[in-house]
Amino acid sequence: MTLWSDETRERARDIISRYPEKRSAVMPLLYLAMAEQGHLTDEGMEEVGRWTGITPAQVRAVASFYTMYKRERTGEYLISCCTSISCMLLGSDEVLHAVEDESGVPHGETDEEGRLSVEHVECIGACGGAPAVQVNYELIEGVTPDKARELVRWLRSARPPVVNTDEMQQLFGGRRSFDWGIPESGGAVGPYPAFQPLGTVESEGEG
């Protein structure tokens, strides 16, 4: 029971208390397990099973159903290129190719240093700003192949501890689906969604 930090265990207790039945907390706890260890390990899944009262096999059955639970070593930066219909119509395959070529990482894989993972994904709801790319699920819209190459170089050289969607949009983005309007101070610290109850969101400059 020492796999998780006191802070993570406190979060797990809070999350479970929100649901009428504790099994419902499996999905958020899987994210906690990923944040603790960088990806989802066998021990992480066993821990989730202990907290939610189901077997490790049941946890694995859930984790394997969803694409965002990464059961293999994943880089500090997960670059997800949308290649669904609206992005494809506006050149997403070329953007994906640029990311793969510049990083040397084919889709579905991670570099040796554990810095970058590259994947292509289905629609991420940014069709009006196609083609779209996410880094650790933080969105950049209107990405060209050249900007995608710059993004890869920036992640490798600047190694930002927090990836912020506004900053990346400013540096590497173009047309957006709609006016984002409101400045975003927080960002992601790893290849899992940045969300307050999971403790995975941090403000720029921190971390």
């Binding site: 009428p20 965002m68 219909i85 709801g125 709609f178």
Partner: protein
Amino acid sequence: MTTPLVLTRRMTDYPSSSHTIDVYEKSGGYEQARRAVGMTRDELVETVKESGLLGRGGAAFPAGLKWSFLAPPRPSYVVINADESEPGTFKDRQLLERDPHQMIEGIIITSIANEAHDAFIYVRGEYPKAARRVQAAVEEAYARGYLGKGIFDSEYDLELTIHLGGGAYICGEETALINSLEGKRGEPRLKPPYFPAAKGLYMMPTIVNNVETVSNLPHILSMGTDDYRALGHHGDTGTFMFSVSGHVKKPGNYELPRGITWRELIYDVAGGIRDDKELKAWIPGGASAPWFVPYHHIDHEITKDVCADAGSMLGSGAVIVMDEDTCTIRVAERLVRFFAHESCGQCTPCREGTTWMEMILRRIEEGQGRAVDLDLLLDVSDGISIGLAWPPKMTTICPLGPSAVSPIIALRDHFRDEVDAHIEAGGCPFEPRSAIRDPHSANQETADTGQRIPDDEGHLDA
């Protein structure tokens, strides 16, 4: 367009602060939720029925009718479907990020009407920014006593929790969403029971409504059902969010009345086709919808009924526009690939059929197509959606499989010549295949998985 903005009004008036509770309240927010606390379930259900509000998630089911199915046992639950993932759709993301309190007020009204004290918002995992904005708004609402114990100084308790998805399109199907929220694989449930309003979350009565649907509720209560109905056209009430993408000059979300024509939407609202090219086709309601073509449909009014009569649907409001240079085989392949990837795997026709369709389309595009391929596609499609009828006659638990058939119907009805051209030319006549490989090229698939391509009769080689 002269119709007043409703759902997107606040984000237009207060571009950098529409998400805050102060701006929301300053512009009349939470007055209707406060009113609803003093109303009965019957009053609220009748009001929503009278408004004619149709669900905005894709199926366009009457919201008031859905509420009226709520079975007697308690506790009941309210679940908001913010798992927007139909390709082409990005309207809920804007509503979540830019005006979260509007949705939260709608959730309070929905919960009171359905006597629920626990409500959940299922936000897709790939929308962390939206989830953060909603979380911040939920905390503001708790701090003002609009959520939690004794909301609006009444006896009514309401807890609201955000649940983050894990990246599975199928969880937008309401019974799959409920399974997912129970901590299970997101597989749609066998019907009957047909409606989660009878047996839903933890097998208790549950109302599942879409973000845009509940965002309409404060407006229905504030303007009254007559004025709300008057915003619409021909029985489609209220405004409707269109997500326009693809080869248009001005892609984006547009809140419009229904009843305008496709020509007005594509050319006036969205600025026409990029580089002033010709329009080849468009998908009227998200990846699941059969396509429309200019020579048949451009002057059709955009209403649910006109769309249905023409063999398609408005679905989630996602309009995907293709110009004259678009290869429709490539589009069909990309659409079918989506459904093959997202199939939950429970039903054989969907799991196997979508994978076969994807492989056949890819080989046509890559120059290995055979004369029988269109018939083969239609045959496989018929196994998923009998007779390729609209609305589909399903062989599956949920509509995901039949949705994958829509691009095949389009090829059969409008682009047979393009299929033939690919097969005769031994490749794609539209754009010479560059060195850039498709992320799922057939050759790679064959090498990686040992999958074999069927021969002319559809048999696999020994």
